[in-house]
Symmetry: C2
Subunit: 605 residues, 2 copies
């Protein structure tokens, strides 16, 4: 099974075209400006006398932004962006150690401490610089960054594999493993694939490879990766590792790796994933915790983790065409990932809670440290100290076409639905495939394939309630030929109530509401009183609407709510009044100032 | 209005006799043993070379224990306890500075830092030593400790009032204010009352009187006390201050103080008190927070704060005979205070949460610092670092008769119900009053008054659903004379469902259950599955039972609960199965090992 790369697809209109335009017209510059303001750009000059002390992960922030620039460039050149990138690359060239080593922090501030501390993100940064180098070369033909990074990787191979002369064996924060697979695919040099396999194989084999403040599982080093069956530790590190494991399982036909990926994936989606596709419940270690521990209020659910889950799930489709993977891509894409970015494309969430109670932020009024409970911030910010998420969004959305199709000798698999065209070369045949749809707001999708006879396998979303013919593992198979080259789909986007497993105590006696792939939420802006007092009538009336200001669809649902009263405690329930609950897509919350918000609602039992 | 002191009452049988026996036979020694083990007793030797460094609040822990010994002694001498106390008093005498100053920590470790840091509890410790001295003198006639403390107080008066030669003006932790009133009552020396008034009057007048890490309100110094209208800051400090304010309002007929007390009290019971009578919602500053912020899971609700609320409310009855005060005494007494102690009298809660979810304690498995969220401990402990609560229990329960009666010229007011006898001298008349009752498990109370004609005012508890005649401010008035000297009461203890104000978002769509004064809870031990999934049928059957092992009454309530299922998220609510919810008194929770527990339950809406 192979992937149709984003540059062979083109999002032509609709939901994702609007998002891609926003990245190009707003976000890429907004993120650059914040990076410039915070010193991240100038930091590449490695000026030892700079007043701003760089952080050892700053390289990666900018690298991801460069990767995003590359993807934008691939569709349409933006000279001003290329100039910025070229200048940064020149600085890297200027400051790269003759041996190949480069890291803003360790080059300019602590050269004596290179590769001594496993948790200092040097290989993580290199991973992102590799991805940037590959992407920028493939987009522009400019190979300088790629070559600089190849030199660096060769040095890494020397000191980590051959000499074993460094302070640790495998990176504290995974990323280089999947980047090395990309480097291999770009350069076709086996040694890069082997280095990736080395890092993956060695992980979890050494008791000494912990970090100061955490346990082994924090960075997935608690056991060899092929023996891991549950998603553990720092969620972003975890899914980046799982991506590499899936890549290597495919490249090496490694069934043990594939098997581990499948078990871990199932553990995530059956026990440890929010309805939004968010993962990593706890701010402690930004980590997975235990099965069914999915607090809404304290949800950590980092944007990068949702994105990483998309990348992992999308890779699993190359190992097994099962809609549990593409459904998960969709779930995270339209909810836990998309919520990361404001509708205007300028500000971002690092964490994406499923409930916000602004009054809790004022509860510890008597003491100074108000953020002690680590409640997530209630409003998106333009930049943050650890600003990994914004550039991740910049690189992901322009390359979102990567999610659409895979193929093998005789079948094209359609995983996601976007108004788009694509070219797919299978053997000597070239197919043109077009999707016409208003997805995700309408379930009608027309898929036309030109170029000859082939099988088409189209995902049937888990939320579609009708029956289709010829469905295997969540894909409806049909034959495309000259007489019949269009498949007409009409997935049912009637709003549905969702109930969590009884073991998810945070969702006990509560329901969520989805319409198609989109999880809805209530915001205080649209609803009177405390949201927790609103009790949905799951047998009542539901109507669809549209919020002109936000530009998103809405739902109105029959409900009851308790009237205000004076007593703190009383023997009467008080009056339950009829009301109408107003819901908006979860991804659109927090675009109108601070307010209560919740995804899980009480309902009449 | 005057109080009938505990030593003029005698609990003769039933619930509180059993508790008092437990203190005498078990708790007083258990607490002493732990204090001895931890070095608190030997610390009075003030050995500069001791390996164990004392804490600056240790004096107060032992002082409260001495006070408890005094109250036990008052009823029946325990020579071994007196010997311990006498030895401690000898050590205090030996180590007291010639000027009068004494504090274990500052005498032995940092003599140079006396009275420099407002938050170092020296005056708080002195307050408890005063109370111990008064109590021990009144119980045994031994005046040594009392005299030592009078000398210390005289020194305090000199350096704080006359010389103003110390580092602050009013104590960081209140307690000495109410103790000085007691000292005045014992010695009849006005200067002690005046010193109390000085500390109360000066509080909140100085901007510089904050502590390092908190805001002014932390120790009620945000404004002059007569201007305070809400309960703020550290809950124990707060209620100890309010006790002194109520005392001084009475002694000085100070209406401004009385008015502040009333406003603060109303703020507590109408906005900031748990159904258990627990106060102080947040572990941050062990403090009151904002109105309606009453998280069950993160409830701090220190045992000493519930006790302090009892002491405050009981004092308010001397200013205004309103059952809101005695109802609050009862609420805190049978619930938030009583939960502090294990049924075997050997271990204690510092905090008393209203919900326990043991699985949350394992959620941060990937990192070391598991207690970061400051979830309360789930099981009582024999001693803790800040062990203020256990000796508070030791001194309170033997003196619980203080809660029963007040009187004025022509009326005896009956506030609490316990199987007991009492003598009340009003003018030249001596009345004998006897209560026969199985309270709090049965609402039948027979009150017999001998000694002549008088009016009897008996509290009608807020939870009683019937109507009584001649009720004013929650008290039923009747005439006692030779022909009719017994009042027969039969308060309705039918279990009732309680609903919180809609602004208490932690209790949204939930109900609590009480029977008489007792709040009930569910424990995992008695109920299958997660408690949060159990939905009570408030129109269903409720039956009373008895748990032989725990020795407490129980309730069984019709309910439904969701059946187990595999899916993490599904479109079906799944099956709701009929079940029976088993409840026990809240005060009896956590006596059978760790388990889920909740006070607020979902109910069929």
């Amino acid at each position: 099974m192979k992937r149709v790369e984003f540059f062979d697809t083109k999002i032509t209109d609709g939901f994702w075209k609007q998002k891609q335009d926003l990245i190009r017209n707003v976000t890429v510059k907004a993120v650059y400006d914040r990076f410039y303001d915070t010193g991240r750009i100038d930091a590449f000059k490695c000026d030892k006398n700079s007043e701003i002390k760089p952080h050892f992960f700053w390289d990666s922030d900018v690298a991801k932004w460069i990767e995003g620039v590359a993807y934008l460039t691939r569709e349409k050149r933006e000279i001003w962006l290329e100039e910025i990138v070229d200048n940064i690359v020149d600085e890297i060239e200027k400051n790269q150690d003759p041996c190949g080593y480069f890291n803003i922090f360790f080059t300019s501030v602590e050269p004596q401490n290179r590769f001594k501390n496993r948790d200092c993100h040097e290989l993580y940064c290199l991973g992102h610089l590799i991805e940037a180098g590959v992407a920028y070369y493939e987009a522009t033909g400019k190979s300088k960054l790629l070559n600089l990074m190849c030199k660096y990787v060769d040095y890494v191979e020397k000191v980590f594999v051959r000499e074993k002369s460094v302070g640790f064996t495998t990176p504290g924060h995974e990323e280089i493993e999947l980047a090395l697979v990309r480097l291999y695919e770009c350069t076709k040099k086996e040694k890069y694939l082997e280095l990736s396999k080395f890092f993956v194989d060695e992980r979890g084999k050494r008791a000494e490879e912990t970090i100061d403040w955490g346990e082994f599982s924090y960075n997935q080093s608690h056991k060899p990766v092929r023996e891991q069956e549950t998603a553990e530790g720092h969620a972003v590190r975890a899914v980046y590792l799982y991506c590499a494991m899936a890549d290597l399982a495919l490249k090496y036909k490694d069934d043990a790796l594939k098997n581990a990926c499948e078990k871990i994936f199932d553990n995530i989606i059956n026990k440890r994933m929010y309805i939004t596709g968010g993962i990593g419940s706890s701010h402690m270690g930004e980590a997975f915790t235990v099965d069914y521990d999915l607090s809404n209020l304290f949800a950590y659910t980092e944007s990068c983790a949702a994105l990483g889950l998309i990348l992992f799930a999308n890779r699993m489709l190359l190992l097994d065409n099962d809609s549990k993977y593409s459904d998960t891509v969709e779930r995270a894409l339209y909810n836990g990932f998309l919520s990361s970015t404001s509708l205007d494309g300028r500000s971002f969430f690092y964490t994406n809670p499923l409930e916000i109670l602004p009054q809790l932020y004022t509860r510890d009024v008597s003491v100074l440290e108000k953020n002690y409970l680590k409640l997530p911030v209630t409003q998106r910010q333009e930049v943050f100290g650890c600003s990994c998420c914004p550039p991740n969004i910049v690189r992901f959305i322009p390359s979102i076409g990567n999610l659409l199709y895979t193929y093998d000798e005789d079948t094209i698999y359609v995983h996601q639905f976007m108004q788009s065209v694509a070219k797919i070369k299978i053997g000597d045949d070239v197919y043109e495939i077009e999707q016409k749809t208003s997805y995700p707001y309408d379930g009608k999708i027309d898929i036309t394939v030109k170029g000859g006879s082939i099988k088409l396998a189209v995902r049937v979303p888990y939320w579609h309630s009708g029956n289709l013919e010829n469905v295997t593992k969540g894909y409806a198979y049909s034959d495309i030929n000259e007489n019949s080259n269009t498949v007409h789909l009409d997935y049912d986007m009637t709003p549905r109530f969702v109930y969590a497993n009884p073991n998810v105590i945070s969702d006990s006696c509560k329901c969520a509401v989805i319409s198609g792939p989109i999880v809805y939420c209530m915001e205080g802006h649209d609803n009177k009183g405390h949201l927790r007092n609103i009790v949905l009538d799951t047998n009542g009336k539901i109507s669809k609407g549209f919020d002109e200001k936000l530009g998103v669809p809405t739902l109105k649902i029959d409900a009851i709510t308790r009237a205000e009263c004076d007593m703190l405690y009383s023997f009467s329930q008080g009056k339950y009044e009829n009301t109408t609950a107003h819901l908006i897509p979860y991804f659109a919350f927090a675009n109108r100032g601070e307010s209560e918000m919740q995804v899980w609602h009480s309902y009449k039992i």
